[in-house]
């Protein structure tokens, strides 16, 4: 198990975010909700990123440049190389009858690929501003909610919810849809169970999110964490 060195095909702005497009090399895109550890040149540790899109020959990641690691990824230029390890972790269970995708902010990152694999189900996406909401263009059939309104206000019963977003949003979604599959995040150094850095409280114990998640909940995978870690290290 070694990281692959992938060539950067380009980085495109999507509102305030960056869509980092990499040549796929020999890597499998995996199941929506799985993640890759990406390490741009000059960083000690890689960063966990859910796969956003998997066009033929490519792997694309939506990055919010909020710290040194994510900025280094967003500032990559075509032709540079990135170390990539993955796909890692457990993705979404795609065997659902009435899927509804729910996303918030940069948490929409895994939803474009998920939408594609599920045949374009309805989606409900929440953003802070109209500029952030430009990312909704990546998800077909998306209904957009802008703050101060929240996605949970528009959430209707009767769907199999698959969600990714900030922790308060995930908690609110879980209250309305207890069987929702929720993709959580936590700082990770390794992504493969070695560092014990990404623990979240799960059923009364601290569990490594990279091994047991990042997608938790639903009818298959037991309960969602009671306390998730803070947002992934920037």
């Amino acid at each position: 198990m070694s990281p692959s060195r992938l060539r950067v095909l380009g980085v495109e702005p999507v509102g305030p975010y960056a869509l980092v497009r990499l040549a796929r090399g020999g890597l499998d895109p995996g199941i929506p909700g799985q993640f890759f550890m990406l390490r741009p040149p000059g960083l000690l540790l890689p960063r966990p990123m859910s796969l956003c899109l998997a066009p033929p020959g490519e792997l694309a990641f939506l990055v919010d440049p909020i710290g040194p690691g994510t900025r280094a990824l967003a500032e990559l230029e075509a032709g540079e190389e990135v170390d990539a390890l993955g796909p890692l972790g457990n993705g979404f269970d795609l065997e659902v009858a009435r899927p509804l995708l729910v996303g918030g902010g940069i948490g929409i990152a895994p939803l474009p690929y998920l939408s594609e694999r599920l045949g374009g189900p309805p989606a409900l996406l929440g953003f802070r501003t109209a500029r952030h909401a430009e990312a909704a263009a990546l998800v077909p059939s998306a209904e957009v909610v802008l703050e101060p309104a929240y996605v949970t206000e528009a959430l209707e019963p009767g769907f199999d919810v698959l969600a990714c977003g900030p922790e308060p949003m995930l908690r609110a979604v879980r209250r309305l849809a207890p069987e929702a599959q929720l993709s959580w995040e936590a700082p990770m150094a390794c992504g493969y169970g070695a560092c014990y850095g990404c623990v979240v409280e799960l059923e009364g114990r601290l569990a490594r999110l990279c091994v047991e998640g990042p997608v938790l909940g639903g009818r298959v995978r037991g309960q969602a964490p009671a306390v998730a870690g803070k947002a992934a290290a920037a």
């Binding site: 070695a194 850095g197 990404c198």
Partner: protein, 297 residues
Amino acid sequence: MIFNASGCLDALTAPDVARALDAFVTKTVTRLPREGNPPVRIAETDVGMLNSIGLPNPGIDRFLDDALPRLLELGPPVWVSVGGFAAEEYADLCARLDATDVAVLELNLSCPNVAAPEDEATAIVTAARAVTGKPLYAKLAPGLPDLPAVAAAAAAAGADGLSLVNTIRGLALDPATLRPRLGTESGGLSGPALRPVALAAVHTAYRVTGLPIVGMGGVETGAHALELVAAGASAVALGTVLFADPGAPGRVRSELAAEAERRGFDGPLAARGAAHGAVASTADAPEEAAGRVGLKV
């Protein structure tokens, strides 16, 4: 002679990575189960990684029943790191591990995230020595006021080798809030910043004790590993580099061999002690002290 540093690899979750090692060193095992520290547990800084994991482990009972049999099946010799808060706890753990097929017992005298037992090094090594014939390695923190004295004390008490070094205490603040980024505020610093610290510790401990030394701290390449060997290490352990590159054991091993050959050494261990102006023999390499490992360099 490429090991992992204790706590930097879960061999049961990533068995292929563990099989690429010349010995696998477990996370520290304690008498009772430990959950470890609350999140946030890790943070990257400009010069290295901070962690405050807090020695999560299933406790010795479950370790012996569940984890150890599976670890021993992986292939590489298993070194078990043991920790506690008093000499009798270490002795209890060592006595229970003495009857197993574990190759070496590493006494963790140094985790910066639990109460520091450095001043008890002599008592702990003496107590452990009394209950086991297995090779004992004392793992020391680099922040000791007098590391050579502690190393010499461990040697005098019966340690067969030293593991140098553990992390050094550090703190990182969130630039926006100026609050600590880790849940426990400070934590252990590893990675590149630890490299010169580890070199100094290995260099001085080699000179003072002459014991076999597993050198570790910021190793990313074979050249880094060779420097530790030149300072006095007889094996090299990988820590933070494993997080970014799980293929590091094989890569560093071949880079180390190539680097030694390029410099005209007859294998990497022939460079042991080169920093001291005289080249030592390889007879006291930890693999041979352990009696279980063939050199694979």
